[in-house]
């Protein structure tokens, strides 16, 4: 019985809805901030080319050799918090689902502790949402906007 319960709990959390990583960097937050939030910085480690309009609601693009990803800037709180949403790679362009990526920079004696959290992989599809709530794709997109707003307002909740 106990084993069955354990297996069930493991199964229930198996879908990786949230990815988080922390790295200690030997550079001050200002330098890390520039690498995360400027086109030049992003192009030197994240994509091959990048564009960014650095303000909440601003858009940008990350380009690699084989694909391009549009991003939408959600939080800009220099030099501590930078967040954006972007599509889930592999889904059609028309799919409204996006994940939320938030970078948090904390100054340390050695430099910066950088945390990245990406959430939103385990969202229901628009079709399943329709079945459950009788809504439509636009309704789901609005709901997702609310989720993003909630996450932006409560960075520690997620």
């Amino acid at each position: 019985m106990a084993t069955a319960q354990l297996l069930y709990e493991e199964a229930a959390v198996a879908f990786p809805n949230r990815i988080d990583r922390t790295v200690e960097l030997a550079h001050p937050p200002a330098r890390v901030w520039a690498a995360l939030t400027t086109a030049e910085g992003l192009a030197s480690w994240f994509g091959h080319e990048a564009e960014i309009d650095l303000r909440p609601g601003g858009t940008g693009e990350l380009r690699w050799e084989d694909h391009t990803s549009p991003i939408r800037v959600e939080r800009v709180e220099e030099p501590a918090v930078f967040a954006f949403t972007w599509p889930i790679h592999g889904l059609p362009d028309s799919d409204p689902r996006r994940t939320y990526v938030e970078f948090t920079l904390e100054p340390t004696d050695a430099g910066t502790r950088l945390t990245v959290v990406e959430t939103g992989f385990a969202q229901l599809s628009p079709e399943q949402h329709d079945q459950a709530f009788g809504g439509n794709v636009e309704g789901w997109a609005a709901e997702l906007g609310d989720l993003v707003a909630h996450l932006a307002a409560h960075p520690d909740a997620a």
């Binding site: 879908f15 592999g90 990245v116 990406e118 599809s125 399943q128």
Partner: protein, 110 residues
């Protein structure tokens, strides 16, 4: 209530683990809705096996049955569960480890 994403992904991966079901899904993806008879004509799989696997796929919500010509049931691929499974795969493919290594290297170099 709709199923949890985890359950949906599990159904997709279970379906894809079987070569006959993989073949049927691939055929429906490539050539569109088809009856069990159409599929038996095109694939080296017995009609009986096709009917059994289509039944399992329909139960799992990966195909839907719809009325076809001459009162035959046609099976159509449902993409929503595949997309949910794709979200699972996308999470595995995000690869923040490599990205953060690249960021660390960039900061060292510049």
């Amino acid at each position: 209530m709709p199923p949890e994403p985890e359950q949906v992904a599990e159904q997709v991966f279970t379906a894809l683990a079987d070569p006959t079901r993989r073949r049927l899904l691939a055929e429906l993806a490539a050539h569109g809705p088809a009856t069990a008879t159409d599929l038996a004509d095109r694939l080296p799989i017995s009609r009986q096996a096709i009917a059994k696997h289509l039944g399992l796929l329909a139960e799992a919500g990966l195909v839907t049955a719809e009325p076809g010509e001459r009162r035959r049931v046609r099976f159509r691929l449902r993409s929503a569960p595949m997309r949910t499974a794709q979200q699972f795969l996308a999470a595995l493919a995000r690869d923040w480890d490599d990205r953060l290594d690249a960021l660390t290297a960039h900061l060292e170099d510049s």
